[in-house]
């Protein structure tokens, strides 16, 4: 069940992140400034989507591996606390 949680959480976050980038970039690049306004045919889909997909895919991969690593650590060591071992919270 944990791997399902990790997969679906990471996928949802990745989808939301790429949605925000696409909406803002489409708002910037179209004349009428709206999503689905009919101007979207003027831009090239490869140029539009590739950088966003690459960045969000990397984030998705790192989220999956980090969360899976934390989960595996927890299985081997029940006292392992991912949140307490998070570097930002070790202040």
């Amino acid at each position: 069940m944990a791997i399902l949680y990790i997969f679906f959480t990471s996928t949802f976050i990745g989808t939301v992140l790429i949605f925000w980038l696409c909406v803002l970039d489409e708002m910037r690049s179209t004349d009428s400034g709206g999503v689905g306004s009919g101007d979207s045919g003027r831009r090239r889909p490869v140029v539009f989507y590739t950088p966003k997909l690459v960045l969000v895919s990397l984030i998705w991969t790192m989220l999956m591996t980090t969360y899976a690593y934390v989960r595996m650590e927890r299985l081997g060591d029940p006292t392992y606390e991912g949140l307490n071992d998070w570097v930002l919270l070790d202040m």
Binding site: V16, M27, R28, I59, M62, L83, D90
Partner: protein, 158 residues
């Protein structure tokens, strides 16, 4: 009269540019401070923590290294989104009030998701009920707001 109007519009344009530039610089400083603080804390911790890297082969690229790579990727994402926000600023100002509301809800969710990712609240571990409920309530609220905002209109004669 025309000259004074031109001068006034120039001053207004200049002040808007100055204000926008100062806001950009302040936002960039805030965005830059996130990964730098992250890296600084990690470097301080690495002096005091004793990590036995011979226990597991994957410890050479352990959880903290992954978290740092993830933080830099998220920082790059924040920069990208911030650049798009600045470039589409005039279109955001010209939005109708309902879509402005949607835009501010989106900004609120963006801050919530980013703070959740940077602080590790989406970890697959048991957290407090307040944290769990807050994040999932915000995300559910956002998804249902989007569904309501982009729902197709019914036909008027139907």
């Amino acid at each position: 009269m025309k000259g004074s109007m031109t001068g006034c519009s120039w001053i207004c344009e200049y002040s808007v540019t100055l204000c926008l530039t100062s806001h950009v610089i302040i936002a960039l400083r805030i965005l830059l401070s996130i990964p730098l603080t992250f890296l600084h804390i990690h470097l301080i911790n690495s002096r005091f923590l004793t990590v036995n890297i011979s226990n597991a082969p994957c410890q050479y690229f352990n959880s903290h290294h992954r978290e740092i790579v993830l933080a830099f990727l998220l920082f790059a994402y924040c920069l990208y989104l911030f650049a798009l926000l600045v470039l589409s600023f005039t279109r955001i100002v010209a939005l109708t009030p309902p879509f402005k509301f949607l835009f501010f809800v989106t900004l609120f969710c963006f801050v919530a998701v980013m703070s959740g990712l940077f602080l590790g609240y989406f970890y697959p571990l048991a957290t407090s009920a307040v944290v769990f409920l807050s994040f999932y309530a915000i995300l559910n609220f956002y998804v249902w707001t989007l569904a309501f905002a982009y729902a197709p209109l019914g036909s008027e004669d139907g």
